[in-house]
Amino acid sequence: MNEPIDIDLQGIETSETPLNHQVHLLRSRVEAEFEMPAVVMVTSALDGDGKSLTAHSLASSLMKSGHRAALVSLTGRGKEVGEGTTAELSREDGSVIGRDRLATFVQEMRAKYDFTIVDAGTFLSSNAAMALAHSVDGVLLTVRIGRAPSDEDQLTIRTIEQSGGRVVGIVAADADTIARFERLRPGERVAGRERLRLSEAKHARSYALPAESLAQ
């Protein structure tokens, strides 16, 4: 459980841990599914299903594979993840971001990056995610392995499709892996109960997209 998740965005070479291998497989599926440039939204039906883990891991892997990749967070936690990454879109205070603004944003991201991964948060509780669904090239839905099924699951699917979005597939994330990822993010609670110790803050960089990468 104390083993760090080895996704190092700074280094080119990475160790072949099982998780990295799974991420590479996910990246391969994404590369096969979408034509560059592409904007992919990662969302889920319930909170804690591993959206950020999936988005961060996928973006990191795409970068390491030589793509121009960007990670955009709609959850408002982008400040902890990377400085200035999602400042314009993290409006979860009740205001509605206009469709035109979102379409422009997507066009800009397409122009800048081969792949733009949008960490959209819980779909049914995010106006931005609902508004963005029809603009992106595809939606990846994450599910935490071991949680109980919920009515929100099918409701999310139906809502995405009614919004004009296209669900490409499901990414199943292990609860332990999610918890370890959340624990390594400074200022976050692990499963809503435990705060990350400062001594572990150094690992957070492994999951953070550097600002200069997003600025490319």
Binding site: I145, P149, G169, D174
Partner: protein, 448 residues
């Protein structure tokens, strides 16, 4: 799913399932172990004692014994068990004895058979195992010599009978010889028999004479009756008055016949003449009667006949007396012989009994030899007696506890997997795909 799970992944996944349900696993294991400990504690301890017997098997044509594969059946037979029960004074039912007793056929080319007995008491187990081994040896020996023993028993009984018979005959013989009334040697007995036979011959001759003389006397008696008419005539011819009267009657009758020839019946002189004739005949008849009845009447023929008859009667009487005398002698001699005849018979009977005794004794000796031969051909010998030991029948408590612990652990682990399987949460890709209607394209973290 796009990846292939390895064995290590499966193992890791299984371990994670167990870890996830560690509390039910521990609880199930604890409960099962507590139950196992209680069960082991409550289980009665059964001890098993073993005795070994060596089987010497002849299997020749004279060997009536059983073959080795039959011996385990013989061990648990009621014949052996009943003997064990009686000998040891057990109050255990035969069925229980049979149930707790086990014996396997000797291994190939081995003559050693192990007899096991299981019992809550180790001393009792050893005692019964040894008792079974001992009784098996005895029973086996009895089976080997059973037919000879039966023959010997019958021969012994016959020998005793013959011996008693010989003794009885000897007593009778001694009694007869001690009396001394009869010749005791064969020569005297033969002479006596000859005498009796001669007497019987003489009696037969005398009897024949008697018969002949009696027949002659009878003939003379008949002849005497036939001579009475001649004697009557002789008496009447010697009586002048009768002759005269007879002559007158004859003359008158001739005259009457002449008159009747010349005259009719109405002739006057005819009745008188007829009456005269009748009167004369009547007188003649009276005179004849007087003459015949007279004491002085005499007939030489009759006198001669009487003499002959008296002589014949005397001869017959003599013959009868002779026959009677011979009968008496024969009876006397026969009585004498009767006294000596059973003696010889007794001797003959005694000799026959002694001969028969000798024959039976020889047969008995041959049977004894055969029995000894059978004993040397097949036998069971107890070579290792059972002693009470701590060895328990079946699985010991420690081993049983280990087995129960292993089973409990397996059941607890199975319980974990069962709980995991029954868990409605999203744990498998198929479940997730059916819920969303979309494919699972990747997994991060633990494999599904």
């Amino acid at each position: 799913m796009t990846h292939v799970q390895s064995t290590a992944d499966h193992l890791k996944n299984a371990c994670s399932i167990v870890w996830r349900h560690r509390l039910p696993v521990v609880a199930t294991f604890a409960v099962l172990m507590l139950g196992s400990v209680a069960l082991i504690t409550m289980m009665p301890r059964i001890y098993r004692a073993s005795a070994n017997v060596l089987i010497v098997n002849g299997n020749t044509r004279n060997d009536p014994t059983l073959s080795s594969p039959d011996l385990p059946t013989l061990v648990t037979s009621t014949g052996v068990l009943a003997r064990v029960e009686k000998h040891l004074g057990l109050d255990v039912p035969l069925l229980t004895l049979k149930k707790n007793l086990s014996a396997k056929p000797p291994a190939y080319k081995s003559g050693i058979m192990r007899i096991d007995y299981s019992d809550p008491s180790r001393e009792r187990a050893a005692t019964i195992a040894n008792g079974v081994a001992d009784e098996l040896a005895l029973y086996y020996r009895q089976l080997s010599t059973a037919r000879y023993d039966d023959d010997l028993s019958a021969l012994d009984s016959e020998l005793v009978k013959q011996k008693g018979r010989i003794e009885r005959l000897n007593v009778q013989l001694n009694a007869r010889v001690g009396a001394g009334s009869t010749p005791t040697d064969d020569k005297g007995q033969d002479s006596l028999v000859d005498q009796v036979n001669a007497l019987r011959t003489q009696r037969a001759l005398a009897s024949a004479d008697l018969q002949a003389d009696a027949a002659q006397a009878s003939a003379l008696e008949v002849d005497g009756r036939s001579r009475s008419e001649q004697a009557r005539r002789d008496i009447l011819q010697s009586d002048p008055l009768y002759i005269d009267l007879l002559r007158q009657a004859t003359s008158s009758s001739a005259e009457l016949a002449a008159v009747r020839a010349q005259f009719t019946p109405r002739y006057p002189g005819l009745p008188a003449l007829a009456a005269k004739v009748r009167s004369l005949k009547s007188e003649a008849s009276r005179q004849a009667s007087r003459a015949l009845s007279s004491p002085h009447a005499f007939s030489p023929t009759v006198a001669a006949g009487v003499v002959e008859r008296r002589k014949a009667a005397a001869v017959v009487a003599g013959d009868r007396a002779k026959v009677a005398a011979l009968d008496g002698e024969i009876v006397r001699r026969s009585h004498q012989l009767d006294g000596s005849a059973p003696l010889a018979l007794l001797r003959l009977e005694r000799d026959a009994a002694m001969t028969q005794y000798g024959t039976i004794a020889a047969h008995r000796a041959a049977t004894l030899l055969d029995r000894g031969d059978a004993l040397s051909l097949g036998s069971v010998v107890v070579i290792n007696r059972a002693v009470g030991s701590e060895a328990q029948a079946g699985v010991g408590p420690l081993r049983l506890g280990a087995i129960f612990a292993l089973l409990s652990l397996l059941l607890a682990l199975a319980c974990a997997f069962l709980i995991d399987q029954l868990n409605p949460h999203l744990r498998r890709a198929a479940h997730i795909e059916s819920l969303y209607g979309k494919p699972v394209i990747a997994t991060l973290g633990k494999y599904l």
